[in-house]
Amino acid sequence: MKAAQTKNVSAVKAKRQGLTREEKTFHLMLLPGMIILLLFVFIPLVGSLMAFQNYVPAKGLLGSKWVGLENYKFIFSLPDGRQVFVNTLVIAFAKLVMNIFVPVTFAILLNEITAKVFKRTFQTIVYLPHFLSWVVLATVVTNMFSLEGPFNAVVTMFGGEPIQFLASNSWFRKVIVGTDVWKEFGYNSVVYLAALTGIDPGLYEAANIDGANRFKQIWHITVPALLPTVVLMTALNLGNILNAGFDQIFNLYNPIVYETADIIDTYVYRIGMVERQYSIGAAVGLLKSVISFALILGANKCAKKATGSGIF
């Protein structure tokens, strides 16, 4: 770190020797945080090298046998090892698309409502689910999709057989994506609402004089104005494509739907923490981290190119 620091110095300003008094305080202020990051981020990172070992807790990282890529070969020889990657991508991609489409639509519609009292009331209500945990909402969702719940009431009203939504491999993913969108669309719409308030009202007035109706105005003024935000959010969320939502799925799934619902994170938890195959769990986790990291860096570059701003 010292070396990098001195390099930096020469790059920034001509030879200032030693630390200023202020800099000493700054280093001291950062020290405790750095210790925390060292302990709970960087040491576990070294620990994840157990992905290339046949890790035995009693022998530790230094004593356990190195096996190269054997763990990865093993994972990809298992059908469920491959399946979790597919499930993760399918669920995360569907969420990515819907978590943009629904909030954008909602923001545009809400923006059309000019009565302040109503607008604010609607906002207050739709932001609420975002702040509730999936532990709480899993019970709510289970109620809604139970055999006697409202969704099955609609199904039977149209003469269908009641469906066990949460125990059906053809329905589970749809429920997961739908309820995730339901929880977050209000919160996600905030950025788009902010972008909408930035539109020059003069544009609408001009369009009005030209005889464009409201739909045409939305299509030709509102939607293009939102496009940069949409591009930015898509790029940022692309980096999250391997995070299909552990908390949600963990609280809603069951062995019947592992086939379609098991994602990387739930798999790592079960295989590593429940079955205690530490190396296999760590190997899957590490692979996920590496791919995600590359994706985030790439997505951030794209976002910067497309809109001039990224996350870092």
Binding site: H27, L37, F40, V41, T114, I125, L128, G272, L286, F293
Partner: protein, 293 residues
């Protein structure tokens, strides 16, 4: 805006209102249903007769909850964790954000630290090595396992860096000329003008700690040490244990649905109490967060 009362205009108004109201109700009604279940008789709940209003209204489950020792024990653990965790989060957030908000002319090592912080935000070793570290440090089964691993909330640090950068440099300079130390400047100049940003960060930390169930599940081996969300998670049917569809069906219509609903409602009340503040400040938070490096 001019009002044209053509048929097309009216129809579009009706559609817009209908969709917005439907979406809003979809967020509200399932939660009301939960409250109604908690206030209903268990027979009515089992027979699935409870909609938005309680049936056979009674508060017996609430009375029963008052005597539920484990619930309150978990409730207290959660409160302790929220207070301790949020305080620690804030100390780290402020003490890291302030130096990192300075230009690299004033703080030459800034870029190195920024790289470390951003890397820590983006890359994780995964839960298994983390669990090993926490257990090696003998933190398992202590409250520290719930607050220390996440003590540096990197996202909040970056949010506060962005806010501090927006504080006029002249305030800082004036204090420096008066001979104030960096810590004095932080406490007397920066913190007072950063109250909205601090409120946002406090609320984020608070909600995070209150809602987290996973670290309790991971690090607590005894059920009596579970924080509230972990307790509820374990209680509302451990679905991973169920292997056939009939069992799932049975569990869904079990009698303790009323009691569980009560626990869920009570566990949500603290969030509802701070909700007006949450709503006010998280928008601020998103706006500050949007001002990128």
């Amino acid at each position: 805006m001019k009002k044209k009362m053509s048929a097309g205009y009216l129809i579009s108004r009706v559609i817009i209102w209908a969709v917005v109201i439907l979406l809003t109700l979809s967020c509200l009604l399932p939660l009301i249903n939960m409250v109604a279940i908690s206030l209903s008789g268990s027979d009515a709940v089992a027979a699935n007769e409870v909609g938005l209003l309680p049936k056979d209204f009674n508060v017996s489950t609430y009375k029963k909850l008052l005597g539920d020792a484990q619930f309150w024990k978990s409730f207290l653990i959660s409160v302790e964790r929220v207070v301790l965790g949020t305080a620690i989060n804030m100390i780290f957030t402020i003490s890291m954000a302030y130096p990192l908000s300075k230009s690299r002319l004033r703080f030459r090592a800034r870029e190195v630290y920024m790289r470390i912080v951003i890397f820590a935000m983006l890359f994780s070793g995964g839960i298994i090595p983390l669990f090993m570290v926490v257990s090696k440090l003998h933190l398992v089964n202590t409250i520290w396992s719930l607050v220390l691993p996440g003590a540096v909330p990197v996202f909040n640090v970056i949010l506060l860096i962005n806010f501090f950068k927006g504080v006029p440099e002249s305030l800082d300079e004036a204090a420096r000329i008066d001979g104030a130390s960096p810590l004095e400047i932080l406490i007397k100049v920066y913190l007072p003008v950063s109250l909205p940003a601090l409120a946002t960060v406090v609320l984020f930390a608070l909600v995070n700690h209150w809602n987290d169930y996973f670290s309790g599940l991971l690090y607590m081996s005894k059920a009596e040490m579970y924080p509230l969300q972990t307790y509820i998670q374990q209680l509302t049917v451990d679905l991973t244990q169920i292997t056939d569809a009939n069992q799932l069906k049975q569990l869904a219509s079990m009698n303790n649905r009323t009691f569980n609903a009560t626990k869920i409602v009570v566990s949500t009340i603290p969030l509802l109490i701070i909700y007006p503040f949450l709503q006010k400040y998280f928008v601020t938070g998103m706006v500050i967060g949007a001002v990128k490096e």
